[in-house]
Structures are given as C-alpha cells and as structure tokens.
C-alpha cells in the first residue's frame, strides 16, 4: 500500500523532459505554437476530466469556461494594463472570475445528473456563446478582440515564442501537479466514489451536491487559466472557442486517451488530438469528416480509451493473481485436511 515515492516512476518527469526538449526536436520543434497549444490542452483536458472521468458529470459546456477565460484576459489586459509589464494579472483574473462563475453555475445545477446535466451545460455554453457573438461593444462580436501583445512577466519579455512556451510549460506543469494532488486526496476519493454510487456516498455522511459544486469551481479555475494562456498565445480571442462543438473537442480528447479510467488519459488524448488536428487539417480540407468518423469509432470500439486498455490488462492480471493465490490456499488447506485424515 505505502509504496515509497520514486521520482523515476513518475510519468510527470518524462512529460517534463519531453516538453522541455520539444523546441529542440527536429521538424516538430519548429512549430512552437503547436507545442504551446498542446501544453494548454493538457491542463484544459485534465481540468475537464475532474468532471467527466472522476465525478462522472458529463459536461458539454466546458468550452464556455475556456472562452470566458480568454475574454476576461483580453478585456482586463486592454482596460487596465495595456502595455503593462505584467501579463500574469490578466490570466490570474481570468482564472478567478471563471472560478466564481463556475461556482455560481455549479450551485444551480448541483443536483442535476446524467442527461439533464449534459443538456443544461450545452444550453449554458450556447447562451454565453451567443452573448459573446452579439455583444459587439465589449467582445468585438464576430471580429473578436485582436492585436494583443504578451508583455512581460517578472521582467522577462514573453513576446518571444520560446520564452512564452517555457512560461506556459511551467504553469501547466504546476497546474497538473495540483490537479493530481487533488485527485489523490480524500476529496478526490469522494469524487470517484460519487461517480460509482451517489446514494452510498450520501449515506456515509457526505453532502454530494456540495462536492459537485466544488469540483465545478476547481475545474472552472483551471479552464479559465487555460483560456487566458490560449488568448495570449495567439494574441486574439474569438467567440468560436465557446461554441458547443468546441466543448465537444475536449470530451473527445479526454475519451480518446482514456480519461474515464486513468489520470494520465487526458494528457495522452489531448496531445494526440491537437497533433492529429493540425496534421490532418494541413493535408486535407475535409478533415472534419475523418474526425467525426474517429469519434464514432472510439465510442463504439474503445469506450475506455487508449489508457483504458492498459488498465484492463492490469485488472486481468490482478484477478488472475488473486485467483491463483486463492487456489493455492485452498490446496494447502485441503493438503492439511488430507494429512490429518491419514493420521
């Protein structure tokens, strides 16, 4: 049970190494914005997986949190600290404001489950999308808000893409560690239990609605942060990011990797997803067709995702081992009984 923590066994170490040397990988390394987007998506899908994979809440409106994070970053940036030396404040503001919004929204739907939860989240994200699309004075409407410059962080100019890449890497890495810590805590255990049997959770004395509200908040905080980082990556924000189809993207990325059964699933899934999207769209204009087909195939043949298959093999081994042990014990007992009979 209490295995000693060994940093060499920690997948995060290898992730850090991979993304640390990413800018130096031949061919891939040239596309730094792609690498940055992959990193942002890792944190984004991990935050989403707290809802879907851990608590079993099928949210289809996560794109709204991401989009609002982008808008808040852009607006705070333009209103208060244009050309300022600090870009961390707008991102922090995005994180906190989206967190508050998520708490409020989570409070409203804290008792809804399953299909009702899914539908309400879709409606919620669509309402916000329309607001962003129509409210031209504030959000720029169809044209969005563009021409944002990254500015500085602690005196380091982040307009350089390599520097911004590493800035994002550090934030994403810290964010992922916090999310993992939460999933391993008693709070995280309650979330996992909620997914399996909510009635039992209540009859152990936990207020399940409160947990749903809190997990929405935590998830929103990180989604807002990712939205902010994304906005600064391209220096622009558009309402498109809030469309419910975009919310579907994170669901697919999470499912593809196996977020339902494994913490690292979303990391694998979103990396593949961003990479494949980029490659396919440059090869073929109608790549959405393949994308749709892939989605159907995943749901049909691989509902637990890539890492879900690994998990299944592990489970099989576990039961085999257990059965072997049991059989051995039985044989031992029979042996003893036999000996006593002979005496």
């Amino acid at each position: 049970m209490n295995k000693q923590y060994n940093i060499l066994n920690d997948p995060f170490l290898y992730l850090l190494i991979f993304f640390g040397v990413f800018p130096f990988i031949p061919l891939l390394g040239k596309y730094l914005s792609l690498g940055t987007e992959m990193l942002i998506w890792i944190l984004y899908s991990l935050s989403f997986n707290l809802l879907l994979g851990y608590t079993g809440l099928p949210s289809f409106g996560h794109g709204a949190f991401y989009g609002i994070g982008s808008y808040v970053t852009a607006l705070v940036y333009l209103q208060f600290i244009n050309n300022s030396k600090n870009i961390f404040l707008p991102v922090l503001a995005a994180s906190l404001i989206v967190g508050m919004l998520a708490y409020f929204f989570g409070f409203i739907i804290r008792k809804k489950r399953g299909i009702y939860f899914a539908l309400i989240t879709v409606a919620f994200s669509q309402v916000l999308y329309i607001i962003a699309f129509k409210w031209t004075e504030v959000t720029g409407g169809e044209l969005g808000i563009t021409r944002l410059f990254r500015g500085q962080f602690l005196g380091i100019d982040l307009n350089n893409s390599t520097r911004y890449y590493y800035f994002v890497l550090i934030i994403v890495f810290l964010g992922s560690i916090i999310i993992r810590k939460i999933t391993l805590s008693p709070f995280g255990k309650v979330l996992k239990a909620l997914k399996q049997n909510e009635t039992r959770v209540q009859y152990l004395g936990y207020n399940s609605a409160k947990y749903c509200c809190y997990v929405m908040t935590i998830s929103g905080i990180f989604a807002g942060l990712c939205g902010g980082l994304y906005c600064l990556l391209y220096g622009a924000v558009f309402a498109d990011n809030m469309h419910w189809v975009k919310s579907g993207d994170v669901v697919i990325a999470t499912l593809l990797g196996g977020g339902m059964t494994n913490f690292y699933g979303p990391i694998v899934g979103s990396s593949i997803f961003v990479l494949a999207r980029e490659i396919l769209s440059s090869v073929w204009d109608n790549w959405m067709l393949l994308y749709g087909l892939a989605f159907v195939l995943i749901i049909l043949f691989m509902p637990t995702g890539l890492l879900g298959m690994v998990e299944r093999i592990k489970e099989k081994k576990h039961t085999e081992q257990f059965n072997n042990n049991n059989n051995k014990k039985k044989k031992d007992l029979e042996g003893i009984a036999h000996k006593e009979e002979n005496k």
């Binding site: 049970m1 209490n2 810590k181 939460i182 391993l184 805590s185 008693p186 709070f187 995280g188 255990k189 309650v190 996992k192 239990a193 399996q196 049997n197 009635t199 039992r200 959770v201 209540q202 009859y203 152990l204 004395g205 936990y206 207020n207 399940s208 809190y214 489970e315 576990h318 039961t319 257990f322 014990k329």
Partner: protein, 260 residues
Amino acid sequence: MDLLRTENLTKKFGELVAVNNVTISIKEKGVLSIIGPNGAGKTTFFNLLTGFLTPTEGKIYLRDEDITDMYPYDIVRKKLSRSFQIASYFPEFTIFENIQMGVFNRLGYSYNFLANSKQLKDVNEETERYIEMLSLSDLKDMKAKFLSHGDKKILDIAMCLTIEPEILLLDEPTSGVSGTERMKVIHFIGELAKKMKIVVVEHDMDIVFSISDRIVVLAQGSILADGTIEEVRNNEDVQNAYLGGNIEGGDEDVVLGKNK
C-alpha cells in the same frame, strides 16, 4: 428517552398509501425486526426514517430531535446508518478503499484537498481495524465488484459501521445469500446487536425468530402487531395474514401479496 420515535408517519404515492399512520418508538440496544408481506411498506418505512423520502404526514424524532425534513447525510451524521436491500458499495474501489470512505468523514477529512489519502496514518489504522473485525484481511486489495454476494452484503454493513452508528437499519441483510454465507451474516448481526440498536427487515422467519427481541408486523402500510416473539407468534391476525394460518383459499402467496 426513546432512541427513535415516529408519530403518525404516513407516505402516499398518489393514491397508494405505502406507509399508513405508523407510530412506533424504538428503545436502545437489541434487535427489532420488521416483517410483513411484499409491498407492506417496510422499505418505504426505512426510506422515510433515513431521509431518502420525505413523509406526507407525521414526524420522526431521533433522541427527541426532529429529523423529519433532514437530508440523508445530516441524519447519518447523527449516528443513524442503513444498509440496502441490494448491497450498496463502490464496485471499482478495493475493499480497503470502500471502508476508507466512511472513515474519512468520521475523522474529519471530507474536504481535505491536499493530503495524500494513502498516507493518512490514522485513517489507515482505523480502516485496518474494521477490516480485521470483519475478517476480510485476505480480500482487502480486491476490487469490490469481484466479491461474492455474501461478502458484498457484509461490506455494505461494514460501511455503515464506519460512521460508528448508534442505530443501524438493515434492509433484508440475507436476501439472495446462500446457506453458509447466510450463517456468517446472521452471526455478524448477533455480534453487532451487543453494541448498538439494530432494526432489521427480513423475510426469513427462522432468522427473525432467532435474532429478534421484538417484532413489528406491517401490512398494507399499517402496524398489524407489535410485541415479543411469543406475542407475535400467537397473534391471530398475524397468523392469518402472514404466518400461513388457515385462510379460505389457503394460497399463502396471495395473502403475502406476491405476484406470480
């Protein structure tokens, strides 16, 4: 002071009266069995007591405190726990983790975001204590979904115990459990009755007569009889309605309300 008391408890589902005007008081310690034919309102009665359903009329008091409109989690914190007719547990968790879930709450870790749940020493010790008590040590790293039916039932009851209840409601603890495992469950209930009040819903009369101190018979939502084993056994109404007395037609299952 009564441990648990209901006053004119009534629950209606549309036209159907599932629990009808039940007034009952439950004293500390011992085993109280609630029996009655299918559809007599036993499980509904449990659901009302534990806050799963809100009564149409009437009041419930736990140690003289009104708990009628409380949520299940608040009632559980007041040391009233229940098991389910179909064993209720966390299938993807190991037995250890299942038991741990109850211990977290009692030791005040419910909203702890940052501690590693595997390294909480007090929780682990407490969980081990329960596992030893239930003699499940061999199975503790096994996922609950692979357990036998009887062990699942025991796990369900074990999870109720982790909140250290003073009153425990067991809904058909031996339903669907095979012979030898059944003895295990009965023995276990007997042990528990020394420490806390147990209210049990059970169909098997042999079991009811062997473990109960007091029996309440429900029929169509109302109390038909209430008393010691002897009193209930000699009660004419009960004999007619439930224990297979001579009734015109004589088809027991019709009387029991079972649909064939």
